[in-house]
């Protein structure tokens, strides 16, 4: 079916078969752009899916046409003024779709296979409010047809068409306004077809519409509240300071924990809108903190190439216990670290016994006693009893 007839059919279907209805937003709830950021917004219109048309003729011939979206790039840029109105709005359009027709021709009953390619491109002007946004203007409309792999002579066409797309907002939050396509002008191409009902049954013609469209917009520039930005910077700096330490101590780990707690306290103090603007902050997640502390502990208890603990002589027993407690507080002690700590405490116990350092032996005994490490417990207990 030639491109011009295709467009006419779609227009007929849009105008003659389907009466666009306005999709109401939540009844009673106001849809408006929230006053956030600099007033600059951006967005896109999602257009995807396909339409299937089938028809049977009284002479026994038939046809099937599948129209499918191939390329969808519809981008919005606009400003929202103090009254919530869209100003300086543009919609940059690039829509490609194809319609593949197969069937048998009337009278001759000859089989046919034709593919029509369509493209709409250009820039429209966007205006209105979040309740009702209108994209209007002139687009280039190109179409060409291939029949059984060969370009049908004279089937190419390029023209300028005036289009109008109307979107009604149905959802507004601090950082997003969503809208549905509710009206289109005639000759709107695939956007007009998208407004068809899901199923149209008209005589011997059956249309099944699986095209979906949705407009999404969001503030173009949003800065985190100042106190959040500062808290994130402080947490990141504490993390960097810890990462470069060759011999981290418990107080260095606790400095990161303190900065992390301060960041989470700031995030908890945000109101609902601010929380949405700030969004997800990786540095505030427990996993970020846990991995950081775990890496620092593995640096402290690093092995040499022979598998011996490299730095154990640098730490006193109480400092090892401090590191253990700081790590365990934030669930950073994994199986690997547990083994390293036990190796370190066994070494320290041997040293304490050799030096008859009762205080250190008691520290190790208490550690083994409360955390349930029987070998270390038995050795420390035996050492204390020997000194008693």
């Amino acid at each position: 079916m030639p491109g011009s007839l295709r467009r006419a059919l779609l227009a007929f279907l849009v105008v003659g078969v389907f009466t666009p209805t306005v999709t109401a937003a939540s009844q009673g709830s106001e849809i408006s752009f929230p006053p956030v950021g600099s007033g600059q917004w951006e967005g896109l219109v999602l257009v995807s899916g396909f339409i299937t048309e089938e028809w049977d003729r009284s002479d026994g011939t038939f046809g099937v046409s599948v129209t499918e979206i191939v390329e969808n790039s519809v981008n919005l840029d606009f400003t929202v003024d103090a009254e919530g109105a869209v100003t300086e709005g543009t919609v940059t359009v690039r829509l490609d779709w194809l319609a593949e027709d197969v069937g048998t021709a009337p009278v001759s009953h000859d089989p046919y296979h034709v593919v029509h390619f369509y493209q709409q491109s250009g820039t429209l002007v966007l205006s209105g409010t979040a309740e009702r946004m209108v994209a209007a203007g002139t687009l280039n409309y190109e179409a060409y047809t291939e029949a059984s792999g060969a370009l049908v002579e004279g089937s190419e066409s390029v023209e300028s068409i005036d289009v109008e797309w109307v979107f009604r907002g149905f959802e507004a939050s601090c950082v997003r306004v969503s809208a549905r396509l509710v009206e289109t002008s005639a000759n709107a191409g695939v956007m007009g077809a998208a407004r068809l009902p899901r199923e149209v049954l008209s005589g011997s013609t059956r249309i099944y519409n699986e095209i979906v469209t949705q407009l999404l917009t969001w503030p173009a520039e949003l800065e985190d509240p100042d106190q959040i930005a500062k808290a994130i910077t402080a947490a990141e700096q504490a993390a960097k300071d810890l990462e470069i330490r060759e011999l981290p101590e418990a107080r260095h780990l606790l400095e990161v924990v303190q900065a992390w707690n301060a960041l989470n306290a700031e995030l908890a103090a945000l109101d609902t809108c601010q929380k949405q603007i700030v969004g997800w902050v990786p540095q505030a997640q427990q996993s970020w903190l846990t991995e950081l502390l775990r890496a620092a502990l593995k640096t402290a208890l690093a092995f040499d190439i022979e598998g011996n603990l490299l730095n154990v002589d640098h730490y006193m027993t109480t400092e090892l216990v401090d590191l253990w407690d700081a790590g365990l507080q934030e669930q950073a002690i994994d199986g690997d670290l547990l083994v390293r700590f036990l190796d370190a405490f066994h070494i320290k116990l041997d040293e304490a016994v050799a030096e008859a350092n009762v205080a250190e032996i008691i520290d190790i005994f208490a550690f083994a006693s409360r955390f349930g490490f029987p070998n270390l417990y038995d050795e420390a207990k035996a050492a204390l009893e020997a000194m008693a």
Binding site: Q286, T318, E319, V321, D322, W324, D325, A326, L328, Q329, Q331, I333, G335, L338, L342, A359, E360, I362, D363, F365, A366, A368, S369, R370, F371, G372, F373, P374, N375, L376, Y377, D378, K381
Partner: protein, 176 residues
Amino acid sequence: MRSTIRVLTVLVIVAIACGDSADPERDGGLGPATSSGSGTTSSPVNGRDVAPTGLPLIDGLPVIDVFAPSESDAGDVPLFRWEAVEGAAEYSLAVRGPDGPLWAWRGTGTQIYFGGLPFERPPGWAGPVMVAGSCWSVLALDRSGHVMAVSELLPVSPAESPGHSCVPGEGGPPGE
């Protein structure tokens, strides 16, 4: 008449406060931790039995009296409370779960909620939760970080528990 009622009310309040103070040593105020003896410890706050005794972590060191939580029905985020130890620079609290070390805390206070918040965790806040069959203990540390007093190793579970034992030196992760 009103003044009489007021005086009687004050006398009743004083009587209730004095009635909970059953331990004469505790009445002497802060001092070295004393042995809690056998049996359960009564809370001076609400009079209910809490924190049953367990086995001492280290024989021969002063024992820290603990007030909360109870062995069972401690909740997911229990509050740990214990008596102050004279001369302690810091306290170390440790919780061991049935599968190994669960959580640790250091601080100068004598109470802390599980997870480390100084107040009860609000709904929806992330943090560790108590596991059934856990054991906990608290140490008092001197200025050098050495252990100077210890609590017993005490059982704790978030819900009703049939009872479990906490043996010092046992129950940690396998393989040690």
